[in-house]
């Protein structure tokens, strides 16, 4: 399955990853290798295990079995805050930002933590990394409303703010869990173009789940298809499109 990748080019390697909730196998024996610089989509019907796989990689869920290596380092047993420090950033399926803080404070807090200055109780934080935060917000086109509470922003803007928070650490691997969920079609395209552009500029490896097939086929370099907790296919977009099995379980019988 998939072509062999040279060892030093592997960003993320997953081996025999398994997670069950009670009797339900959410993720079962998943093996996966993601090359440096890949833009990888994980697709599959609802309940296929995409989000569970995400949460296993990022340490939000504990694993029943299996290993995760990131750039040669075993991160299987690390808590999320340490995995973040290894160079992995993520967004969540349900928009996760600091609602009662302003977008500026959201990004500033991420910067303070990233630079390990978040234990300082003596200096006022207001002006620390202010300019850097504004620059990052500008990159995701959120310059206009940086001082209003994030809770009153539109859904799309909140999603972009979360992207900004995730970009703060200049990660090597960016994981996006349904980055365009709940957006209008126009907004979806813009957001994914933004992600792809930033990925290109920074040489990021991107791993994302998505339901919108237009988005998936537009930006991904490779696609992994999951069904009932297992990987059933992996390949380039055109290979996925042509695969019978994928058509049957995912795109519909006549897809």
């Amino acid at each position: 399955m998939g072509k062999e990748i040279e060892e030093q080019d592997v960003a993320l390697r997953i081996k025999a990853l398994t997670k069950h909730f009670g009797g339900v196998m959410a993720v079962y024996g998943v093996d996966m290798e993601i090359a440096q610089g890949d833009i990888r989509a994980i697709i599959g019907p609802n309940g296929a295990g995409k989000t569970t796989l995400f949460n296993l990689i990022t340490g939000d869920l504990s694993k029943n079995q299996g290993r995760v290596h990131f750039r040669g380092q075993d991160i299987s047993r690390m808590p999320p805050y340490k995995i973040y420090r290894c160079g992995i950033s993520r967004t969540f399926q349900i928009t996760s930002i600091f609602l009662r803080l302003t977008p500026l404070e959201n990004v500033q807090t991420a910067l303070l933590s990233h630079h390990r200055r978040h234990y300082n109780i003596f200096t006022p934080a207001k002006s620390i990394y202010r300019q850097e935060a504004l620059d990052i917000l500008e990159r995701v086109s959120l310059k206009e409303q940086v001082l209003k509470p994030s809770s009153i922003m539109s859904h799309g803007d909140q999603r972009r703010l979360e992207l900004a928070i995730a970009l703060v650490s200049e990660p090597q691997l960016l994981m996006l869990d349904e980055p365009t969920a709940g957006m209008a079609p126009q907004e979806r395209r813009e957001t994914m173009e933004l992600v792809a552009r930033i990925g290109e500029e920074e040489g990021l490896t991107i791993l994302f789940t998505e339901h919108d097939m237009d988005v998936v086929f537009a930006v991904s370099k490779r696609i992994t298809v999951m069904h009932q907790g297992r990987i059933i296919f992996e390949g380039k977009p055109q290979e996925v499109r042509a695969n019978r099995e994928v058509q049957r379980v995912y795109l519909g019988e006549d897809g």
Binding site: D60, P80, Y81, I97, R100, T109, S113, Y119, N120, T123
Partner: protein, 318 residues
């Protein structure tokens, strides 16, 4: 920029007026109210320390009396048993509270919501029981008497100034903490712990640190109260005492830095007037006030003021 300077000017003017009022207050008001004002300041500090957890950290403690009592007993025991000078014990007593918060907090922050609250209450009741039963050391339910301030702070006016100075500095420190990088990360945890973890924050350690800081400042309040009262009793650690700062911050508004301070003034004045006139009915009034605040203005007095004056969001938030 011009507007910013303008605002800063207003703020400085306001602080000068406030300081002048506090300075002149003991010479204007009747003697009895000097005591009330001192008590208000102590309660305000206790509530502000408590609100570092609730307002900024989103952690509800039902057991903060433990740290108030540890500060009070720490100072009182050093003063009585070790003969440490009074002013030094006010500095050292709160360290006992911080040590208690370090120990208990380690377990408490591992839980969330109602479990967090119940475990904090359980630890406080343990502290209460130890103080209550250990006659040989803590005096049990007889308490420790004769905990009076050193000679130059003996007069109520002098102790008023001393309290105001200590409380003022402590409240400034709490303000600095809330607006520091540490405070930003604490608020981030309050808003979204999952997200906070994935910006690299060690959530439990951060909460633990906040718990210790909150315990330390609660301990300062307890220590000040010991010398104000001239004695310490196990009641300081009882759960009634734990609910006091909670009621104060609900009255004042948990999401405003001034909430605990304003709440303390309101709470203590009401208590003084009502229990002076109808001693038995204070809990009835208190209950009615809490119900009214929660129904009419869940953001407390400060939230009410904000809507009344500005109709928009204020900046001085926790």
């Amino acid at each position: 920029m011009q507007q910013k300077k303008h605002k800063a000017g207003h703020l400085i003017l306001l602080i000068i007026i406030l300081l002048t009022v506090l300075l002149l207050l003991p010479h204007i008001i009747p003697f009895f109210f000097i005591l009330v004002a001192t008590e208000i300041a102590i309660l305000a500090l206790f509530a502000a320390a408590f609100n570092l957890l609730l307002g900024s950290g989103g952690m509800l403690s039902f057991g903060h009396a433990a740290y108030f009592a540890l500060g009070a007993y720490g100072s009182a025991l050093l003063f009585k048993k070790a003969g440490v000078p009074m002013v030094l014990t006010v500095a050292a007593g709160p360290l006992f509270a911080a040590a208690g918060a370090l120990l208990f907090g380690f377990f408490i922050v591992r839980l969330t919501t109602v479990y967090f609250a119940m475990l904090s209450l359980a630890f406080a009741q343990i502290v209460y029981t130890i103080i209550f039963k250990w006659y040989g050391f803590t005096g049990g339910d007889n308490g420790l008497l004769g905990i009076w301030p050193t000679s130059f702070l003996k007069s109520p006016v002098a102790y008023y100034y001393f309290t105001m100075a200590v409380v003022g500095l402590s409240v400034l420190a709490l303000y600095a903490i809330i607006n520091s990088p540490f405070g930003y990360a604490l608020k981030a945890i309050r808003e979204n712990p999952r997200r906070a973890r994935f910006i690299g924050v060690n959530v439990k350690r951060h909460q633990h640190m906040a718990f210790v800081l909150s315990g330390f400042f609660s301990g300062i309040a307890g220590s000040l109260f010991a010398f104000f009262n001239g004695s310490v009793f196990p009641d300081y650690a009882f759960f009634n005492k734990s609910f006091e700062p909670l009621i104060v911050v609900i009255m004042g508004g948990t999401q405003f830095f001034l909430g605990p301070l304003v709440g303390a003034v309101g709470y203590k004045l009401l208590e003084t007037f009502i229990s002076g006139r109808w001693p038995v009915y204070w809990p009835l009034f208190m209950g009615s006030i809490v119900i009214t605040v929660i129904l009419v203005s869940p953001q407390g007095f400060m939230g009410f003021l904000e809507r009344l004056l500005w109709g928009r969001k204020l900046r001085s938030r926790t």
